[in-house]
């Protein structure tokens, strides 16, 4: 009855209810398997098909999805989730606690790419058909936040089709087929060409969209995607090239939706002693914090944003954007541009006469190479000699892993939407055993930060936790561990008449789309 009235309301509100919707993406999701690849194209798309225990709302807050409620167990031994009853998968099977346990085993397996989410988990226990206990090794206040993209798969379906574990290498049934509980189901999938979705009639939620059929086409060439939007062949593209934004704004048939992503673009430095033997770079020049400060002060970030980003981005002060949980208000002031101070700092630190090997990707972040060129010339104005080397991202990461740099550009989007995330991956001392600092290419290390990290991870009291996050942010800022530059913009384009919601994680959520 409830659903009927909702449907009725929709019919009354929107005269044209039956809508086919076409959209273009740059990167086709590599797989339909929600546990095989942990990347934005895959998880963003599959969020329309699969669902987790919790999900993120329009404002990124955590809200109930397949779990109706959750509470900590005891003194933080774990979390108890009450599951929603009457939920069915798209093939008609019922959802219950067995599927949660199965999805845990699958997503935490060695073959999965999502296993790091479950590093704090010791056990998942089925209490009854609609209650699940997830036990953690230490108190974990942000655990529900960290599993918003952990999607539930039907155990019977996966086992019947030989897909009980993900297979990144050879692929399996779940690579090409999907069976979630979400609002849309995949009706046809041609990798790289076209993926067609239709609404899942048995979905438990209230339908807000008015789409009857959705077609996703990957278009890699930005000019082609733009032409497709302008000609009406597609209704939505992501991203719109920044240089075309102004032109689109004058066109009444399309509209540009701008916001900022969760991704902070920053500069990193080689701070390891004696890596000079690696050939280029590594003359230990950035061991001195004054050298890093010189770089921080030499860069006029607002000018970069004005020219290269055409005013579409925000200056960053720390490794996370203000929209993230745990952002440090106390350290919200970015480094101040001061070319003179930078020049004298560079001299003091002995940067003069040395060539800084600056590595940069040219196809990873928006206008990344142009930003690196601007940084290079700004550093030159402050008396620093920089040799810029920009390359495709496939060559970039191996170069960083091989320590072939003095300075590099990195963008970081915290998967948990929490300030703890970049500390764990970028600021903690590299430790393969403990899975810490796996992206800390420059080898930054601070004993106090390493000490604070596990305390932050297990602190249940929000005030105490924020105090520790503030302390960490201050240390990182004072020592100039990284130079945060800006928060990357999001620029989407849609036909006018398409209503949608843009979230800073760059996920395009179809159940919020209406077409008039």
């Amino acid at each position: 009855m409830h659903r009927l009235s909702t449907a009725l309301a929709l019919v009354l509100a929107l005269p044209a209810t039956a809508e086919e919707f076409n959209f273009a993406v740059t990167t086709d999701p590599q797989t339909m398997d929600p546990h095989a690849v942990n990347s934005t194209p895959v998880l963003g798309f599959l969020n329309n098909v699969y669902e987790g225990l919790v999900r993120r709302g329009k404002d990124m807050s955590i809200e109930p999805s397949l779990a109706v409620s959750w509470e900590p167990i005891g003194e933080g031994e774990g979390w108890r989730f009450k599951l929603r009853e009457g939920v069915t998968f798209q093939d008609g099977a019922a959802f219950n606690a067995d599927d949660v346990v199965f999805s845990y085993e699958r997503a935490a397996s060695e073959q999965a790419d999502t296993s790091s989410w479950f590093a704090p988990v010791s056990e998942v226990i089925k209490v009854d058909d609609y209650t699940v206990d997830i036990m953690t090794t230490a108190p974990n206040p942000i655990f529900p936040d960290s599993i918003a993209n952990w999607m539930m798969m039907d155990s019977g379906w996966a086992e019947a089709n030989g897909a009980a574990r993900p297979d990144k290498d050879q692929g399996n049934y779940a690579t090409l087929n999907a069976n979630g509980t979400g609002p849309f189901q995949v009706v046809s999938r041609q990798p790289d060409l076209e993926t067609v979705l239709e609404p899942h009639a048995g979905w438990w939620g209230e339908v807000e969209h008015n789409l009857t059929r959705v077609t996703m086409t990957p278009i890699q060439n930005p000019a082609t995607a733009l032409a497709a939007l302008l000609s009406g062949d597609v209704d939505f593209i992501n991203p719109v090239p920044i240089q075309d934004v102004a032109r689109l704004e004058g066109n009444p048939e399309v509209r540009v939706i701008q916001g900022i992503e969760a991704r902070v673009i920053m500069l990193g430095f080689d701070q390891q002693e004696g890596s000079a033997e690696s050939g280029q770079g590594g003359a230990d020049m950035f061991l001195d914090p004054r050298a890093r400060e010189a770089v921080a002060k030499a860069i006029n970030v607002p000018a970069i944003l004005q020219t290269i980003m055409r005013g579409n981005a925000e200056v960053a002060s720390q490794m996370v954007s203000p929209a993230m949980r745990g952002f440090s208000e106390a350290n919200a002031a970015p480094y101040v541009y001061d070319a003179e101070a930078a020049r004298s700092l560079a001299e003091e630190a002995g940067l003069a006469g040395q060539t800084i090997a600056f590595k940069c990707p040219n196809d990873r972040y928006l206008n990344d190479e142009a930003v690196c060129q601007a940084v290079t010339s700004m550093l030159a104005q402050a008396g620093m000699d920089v040799s810029l080397d920009a390359m495709p991202v496939s060559n970039y990461w191996p170069e960083l892993r091989a320590d072939n740099f003095d300075m590099y550009l990195l963008g970081w989007s915290p998967g948990t939407f929490d300030a703890e995330h970049p500390i764990r991956f970028l600021a903690a001392t590299q430790d393969d055993e403990a899975k810490l600092g796996s992206w800390n290419f420059g080898g930054y290390s601070n004993a106090r930060v390493d000490e604070l990290l596990p305390m932050i991870q297990s602190e249940i009291d929000d005030t105490a936790r924020q105090a520790m996050l503030d302390e960490t942010a201050k240390i990182l800022q004072d020592e100039v561990a990284y130079v945060p530059l800006y928060v990357q913009p999001l620029v989407w384009g849609a036909r006018s008449g398409v209503e949608l919601t843009q979230r800073p994680d760059d996920f395009f959520i179809l159940r919020w789309v209406t077409v008039n």
Binding site: A223, V393, G415
Partner: protein
């Protein structure tokens, strides 16, 4: 004769093997696929494990040997990006490229010959001069620019034709064709023109110069003296004799239409093997790159082998020399 063929085949196989070796040595420079296959929360351990699993920790010569070992058994491996067998993907994509190549080839031949004849007959006419000057633009503008210009004119401004893709296709037992639907045919127009334009100008200029040459011959003059109509002279007598070198060139250009479809396919998001290859490069999808390059080199080597053998049949001197 047999020994000649055996020798030529042997040389072709050698060429293929060397091409493969060069290709595999280049893959090291394209980058590392591992980071594209794993998310940002991967550990260094995961990276190492996957690298070993895929055999990427081995030198390229070993990787090449393994590829050959599998390839001779008909197994081209599994795409890193799609997690599906490469052979399956290539077969799925081939019809798109072959249909595009066929249509643009026919377009280039028909238009090239017609315009070539026209410009030869009306050597000093205004229209002929206009066509000749315009053809210079066709040769000198890069393909991707022509493609984008056509899209903006016919899709964005006029809204007549689709801006990307193949339109609706019909599956004929594993071969998807765009010839049987209206949207499929419409979708073929712009990419075919883009791809065929260069070949068209080439054929046009060749036909024109050959035709001018032929029109100066004595037998054309005698034909005129016999009082034959212009139409009969131009098309029955002159054009026939023009076609011999033209056909040779057309044969040679066919291979390059398929191989150079890459750019056109990228601009129009045409789901053929060229686009597949471009995407494979970006992702460092080594099995797809290897299979594609081998396929293209097999095609070129086979065409050349056939031509060599045909020449040998036609010209006995080559047989002796061999």
């Amino acid at each position: 004769m047999l020994s000649f063929i055996v020798k030529r085949v042997g040389q072709s196989v050698l060429v293929l093997l060397i091409t493969g070796l060069v290709a595999f040595s280049m893959f090291t420079f394209v980058g590392d696929p591992i980071d594209n296959m794993l998310g940002q929360e991967r550990t260094i351990e995961d990276v190492e494990r996957l690298r070993e699993q895929l055999g990427l920790d081995k030198p390229f010569v070993v990787q090449y040997y393994r590829f050959l070992e599998q390839a001779v058994q008909g197994n081209f491996g599994v795409s890193y990006r799609q997690g599906r067998p490469v052979a399956e993907i290539l077969l799925e994509r081939a019809p798109a490229t072959l249909e595009l190549a066929a249509v643009s080839g026919i377009f280039a031949i028909l238009m090239g010959i017609a315009l070539g004849v026209f410009t030869a007959i009306r050597r000093n006419g205004f229209a002929a001069n206009l066509i000749m000057s315009a053809s210079l633009i066709g040769v000198s503008l890069p393909t991707f620019l022509i493609g984008i210009l056509l899209i903006y004119l016919f899709s964005v401004e006029l809204g007549w034709l689709p801006s990307f893709g193949r339109g609706d296709t019909v599956d004929l037992g594993g071969w998807t064709t765009g010839f049987l639907t209206a949207s499929g045919l419409k979708a073929l127009i712009l990419p075919s023109i883009t791809l065929g334009l260069y070949q068209m100008t080439l054929i046009m200029r060749l036909v024109r110069s050959e035709m001018l040459e032929v029109l100066r011959q004595d037998y054309i003059r005698f034909a005129k003296a016999r009082g034959l109509s212009d139409r009969v002279i131009n098309f029955r007598h002159a054009l026939k004799n023009t076609m011999v070198p033209v056909i040779t060139v057309i044969g040679l250009q066919l291979g390059s239409i398929i191989a150079f479809a890459i750019i056109t396919e990228t601009v129009f998001q045409w789901p053929g093997v060229g686009l597949l290859f471009i995407n494979a490069i970006q992702f460092v999808d080594i099995p797809v790159m290897a299979a594609y390059l081998m396929l293209i080199s097999v095609m070129f080597v086979a065409i050349n082998l056939l031509v060599d053998i045909l020449y040998a049949f036609i010209d006995p001197r080559l047989r002796v020399a061999a």
